[in-house]
């Protein structure tokens, strides 16, 4: 166009603001709900502004998790379970994927391509399509209600292996050659060159996998029969139960806020890594 457009149109701002408001709407009500008492909410005329029971509700949820009509484990136990699960899954997936990608990229050995494809095809076997038999294996191994049962079956990762292999292929041959001439073996090369070169990918992947682990639902639902092993996501749904009007909605909403706080904080504060991880894992 002949003249530079300086004046901004209001339309994009209007649409985007509308979007932001609509997206934040459910969260706003959850926040408000977590500041009133159960009786106020049950009248169906909850005020649109915060009430005075904030500390009560959160304290109650964190320490007992049990109200008049819901009974559960203290939310701090559930938060701890979720945290342990998310961390083991994220760290475990990265650890076993980076070493298997290293094996495939930097060595030549019989069966290399066969093993690579073996890892690759697991993309096509999400846990949801093999629920019952996988559950049976975990039961037979005595891993029900353990952190191992919650995490180990989810730790294999074709996506992460493919990503690291991709990264390793961009490491110049000259670098490996130089390291070999200097007398570095495979293990030293891994620790001193490959690992530092992959650290941005590791960070990005960690953010995505942490959210993935934290938000797991079907698998912990099957594996945890003891309430003290439940994750917070399972805990909320058990609290809701049959979703009667007369239930401790104040505690449920406080729990929901606590459940989404860690992953949302990760996305917002580690935004740069999050976006990088999201785009990379889909390559």
């Amino acid at each position: 166009m002949a003249r530079p457009r300086r004046r901004e149109s209001w339309l994009p701002h209007f649409i985007l603001c509308l979007g932001v408001v609509v997206f934040a709407f459910p969260i706003y009500f959850a926040l408000i709900g977590s500041t009133h008492d159960a009786a106020t909410i049950a009248t169906g005329r909850m005020p649109l502004l915060p009430g005075g029971h904030t500390l009560d509700n959160y304290w109650h949820a964190l320490t007992s998790g049990t109200g008049f009509r819901v009974s559960g484990s203290p939310v701090r136990t559930l938060l701890l379970n979720s945290l342990v699960m998310a961390l083991i899954i994220a760290v475990g997936k990265i650890a076993i994927s980076i070493i298997s990608a290293y094996a495939v990229a930097f060595f030549s050995f019989p069966g290399r391509m066969f093993f690579f494809w073996m890892i690759f095809v697991t993309l096509m076997l999400p846990v949801e399509v093999r629920i019952i038999p996988t559950y049976k294996v975990v039961t037979d191994l005595g891993m029900i209600n353990t952190y191992a049962g919650l995490t180990v079956p989810l730790i294999a990762s074709a996506t992460a292996t493919l990503l690291f292999r991709q990264v390793f292929l961009t490491i110049p041959d000259e670098l490996a050659e130089a390291a070999k001439i200097d007398g570095a073996g495979a293990i030293r090369f891994f620790w001193q060159i490959v690992l530092p070169l992959s650290r941005t990918n590791i960070a990005a992947l960690f953010v995505i996998l942490f959210i993935y682990g934290w938000n797991q639902y079907l698998w912990p639902l099957l594996i945890t029969t003891s309430r003290s092993m439940e994750t917070i996501i399972i805990g909320i749904v058990k609290m809701i139960g049959t979703s009667e009007a007369q239930t401790d909605w104040n505690l449920i909403m406080a729990t929901a806020i606590l459940a989404m706080l860690p992953p949302v904080a990760v996305v917002i504060f580690l935004q740069h890594w999050f976006v990088k991880g999201l785009i990379e894992t889909e390559k």
Binding site: P12, L16, V20, P26, A95, S100, I131, I155, V267
Partner: protein
Amino acid sequence: MRRRVIFPNKILPYFLLAPQLAITVVFFFWPAAQAIYYSVLLQDPFGLRTQFVWLENFRIILTDPLYLGSVQVTVIFSTAVAALPMGVALLFAVMADRKIRGVHVYRTLLMWPYAVAPAVAASLWLFIFHPDIGIIGRWLNDVGIHWDYKLNGNQALLLVILAASWKQVSYNFLFFLAGLQAIPRSVMEAASMDAGLGRTFWSIIFPLLSPMTFFLLVVNVVYAFFDTFGVIHALTDGGPAKATETLIYKVYTDGVMNLDLGGSSAQSVILMVVVITLTALQFRFIERKVHY
């Protein structure tokens, strides 16, 4: 593709691969094989006798009106959950891609729902749309629309679609925005010189985004099929009268609740075929992206 420089160790690579392969075999291949094995067996209700029945389980499932009903629910649900977030996300992305101030703020404020677990998203929507205590649910009843998702199947389906889509917009938005930003400025400017905004979008920008659109379509369908279990479990439990029972939900109820091993396994095998098809489609897209 192979590297020229490799390390000579013969044993080490096997050790490096061992953890991943062990988990893969024990928790992926063995259960998948079991699913296929059970899908051709028929067990009596007490688990005392098993009989090899060829494809009988598949025949029973594919002629079962309940299964076919669940197929229908899944088609409606996943079409909506694939299309709705994509449309909304594309609109936001096009708006945010114009050179306006505060793009980064909008991007931050629109991407956080990605981090909310499907089951938690469901509990938030439940709180708003509850017929007695939810602000919108109650309002609908006040203005004379009889809203009760626990009794009305269509309303239940609508609610799970909304809750599932809400969460998925962020993902689509980030990818569309990345796609738009990858289109060279010169192309955009040249196009906007001879055509109006609407025409520029449909004749230039949208075709350039089509590989991205196709990719997101597959991702959204996979999400709708497999990751929305939590939304449905928390909101409707598959009801009322199976109105929100998707295929994955049925595998769960038949296998875990009704303990129908053969039937549930046959359903798992059908779902495996679906995933394999979707994954193959996804990789065809990636192949094209590489050729660019």
